[in-house]
Amino acid sequence: MEHDILIEARGLTRRYGPNVAVQGIDLTLRRGEILGLLGPNGAGKSTTMKMLTGNLAPSSGSVKINGIDIALQPKQAKQSLGYLPELPPVHPEVTVDEYLDFAASLHGVPKATRKAAVAKAKQSCGLNEMSRRLIGNLSKGFQQRVGLAQAIVHQPPVIILDEPTVGLDPIQIREIRSLIAALAQNHSVILSSHILPEIQAVCSRVMIVHRGRVVFQDSMAAVNAQNASRLAAIFRHAPKSFAVPGIASTQSLGEGRFVFTPEAGADPREALVAASVANGWGLLELKTEGRTLEEIFVSLTSSDTTELKEAA
């Protein structure tokens, strides 16, 4: 069955006794998309992923994988899934080859094509030299790769990765990132992380979860477009007020540093430079600056501190 929407989750809620871990999350994953799930520790990312993969029954809400409800037809729905949980689900006492062969047969890869599938997954994850090593003797980084290989060995349309780069060195992180980018050409990926540059580097859409709720959701392109929304400038002789057309508001940061918010659709940069030259403000620096992903993340997830500030 070909569907354009590979994961459709509606109103996912999960309670642990009186604690609500995840509340009313809606999530849609389209073909060829890499969705980044971002959030501070304990925000509900892993709980959401466990529900998406059928490892945890939601208290309410539904999950459809490739158009099949995972609660009603778990076997059929799970056929389209590859999942790397927080801890790679590896068996330390067997070799990489034995383990991947088992993972492939478990997911119904027929015997005739199993060897090729395992070889391809090993190739993708850089495990070729580790084929006959015991998984328990591999380093954390390589175990993580084995976990990743397990998730892609049966070429599922949907791949769900829970913090795939934890415990890896910077070079391995780059390799995994490029692997994820390569995977996205044929698969859809959901990726969770609390590392911002990681999401920024690979994802096409980002979703920020905080205290079990979705607090932000947009495409990376839109996030990047917002980047040009504000102007930061430094003046040697700053005036008391800036009477420049196109500037909606001005905020002084002290020592001649200012942040300007332009009126909607206006670009006051040229006028600002001209006014500075004419009035001798001594413009030292002028750059566009906007809400980066990091600022969005911090402003949305540090609500405790904002509330405190507002109260003060």
Binding site: N55, L56, P85, P88, P89, V90, V94, F102, A103, L106
Partner: protein, 247 residues
Amino acid sequence: MSALVAIARHEARRIFVSPLAWTVLAVIQFIMGLSYCLLLTEMVNNPGSLNQYSGVSDYIGGGLFGFSAVLLLLVIPLMTMRLFAEDKKSGSLTLLTTAPASLTEIVLGKFLGLGVFFLAVLALMAAMAFSLFGGTDLDLGRLFAGLVGQLLLMLSFGAAGLFVSTLTREPVIAAVGGFGLLLIIWLFEAMAYGGGMFSDLFRHLSLIGHFEKLRRGVFDTADVAYYLLFITLFLWLAVQRLDVERS
């Protein structure tokens, strides 16, 4: 179905690559070998103990199987402790629960993998009994009944141990719990001797009472049915337990 076979094969492989399995096999074989020798010497020194009702097959075979039951009670919880507890602890159970396999297939797969190990134990036991073939006539029916009883007893111990293993994340707790559970069901036999209104019930429920007859070569469908029900009950409980964990 293919998932079940895949899990069973992989589980058997995991059991046989672990030093634990070989240690357990070695210890069982050493102790059983010792008791085999003792039984044999005793029989040779005391040929008067054999009569028309109790021959070599009964003396050696029955004696071996009877003694092995106690030994198995001690070691099988060690073999079952890791089945689910360790996978839960390491997080590798997720591999199975994310795969297109039902909980029943997962439980049955692991159980059958364990069954392969039991076949190895059984083969060693059978080899000792059948080694007498060169020297004397053996009552094959008796020996086979004993071996069937032995296999059913091992599978029952295994099913109960497997269930206890789904209850915890710590393999050692699973071993202690499994041993405790088996011992209690075993001791029903002693409670039955105490008399009272429930003594019949206890006698029917005891694990060892049903083994006694098979060991002596009496193949009774009721005994076999008891073991099959016992196994089914604990495997079903394990499936229920895993299902509860998900919700």
